[in-house]
Symmetry: C2
Subunit: 114 residues, 2 copies
DNA sequence: CGGTTTAATTCTACAATGTAGAATTACGAT
DNA sequence: ATCGTAATTCTACATTGTAGAATTAAACCG
């Protein structure tokens, strides 16, 4: 079984996690900020958006334009949400790493689930 | 700081973990087996070897031919070890994911460190 | 010795993901 | 209309992911 688990890539994983953690406030800018703040890894917006696009093509995230109501200038935001298949794929990737790192010395202690 | 953390890819991470966990018995075949047994994800030897090669180019693993002493037929084994920079990179990648997944609901519980 | 079996690695090729920067779109205000 | 601002889309190329075929080499056997 599970002939093609098709684990997400490293950056895809990070982006999906950012979307998941941001809840209903995930869009290009906030995703990038979350990534930078949490991981210290600076990335370009282009990187974030193309990854988001590819994830959407795979059905791992969905997107919707923001309704009017904001008074600020500038273009409308495109909000992203993690889909059920996206969550599943994310879990598979995380589980694979967790399984592999079990009992290996010299690795950081895993994060506590909240 | 850390302008270019250069996180390892998803499969690279899995391969490095396999090498780490196998200790001094890590070579192409055992790496593949460890991967399959632990993650359920089948991979080709070609995939494993080219990843191992690329990791060596980056200095994340080192390799050495097996000394004689085996009485089995077949070609000599090439054993791999994780280097210090490799462990560092591995840790950074794992930490990045751990940071991002902290407190996000719907994710699997992290593995217990042993 | 020369062929056969066995174990393992290397080579070749292409698809998918990673990544950045420039260009573009669209809105509100002047 | 045009300007500044906020955000997204486009274009392009480098790196990583992945498989399968080809190759290498040691031990064994007659």
């Amino acid at each position: 079984m599970a002939a093609r688990p098709d684990l997400p890539g490293a950056f895809e994983t990070l982006v999906m996690l950012a979307v998941a953690r941001l809840g209903d406030t995930a869009y290009g800018m906030t995703v990038r900020r979350a990534l930078e703040e949490r991981t210290g890894h600076a990335t370009s917006l282009g990187a974030v958006y193309s990854t988001l696009d590819r994830l959407e093509t795979k059905g791992y995230v969905s997107s919707s334009e923001s309704e009017g109501g904001d008074d600020r200038g500038g273009r409308a935001k495109r909000f992203f949400r993690l889909t059920a298949p996206g969550l599943r794929a994310l879990n598979q990737g995380i589980e694979a790493v967790d399984k592999m790192r079990e009992g290996v010395p010299g690795l950081p202690r895993p994060a506590r689930a909240t």
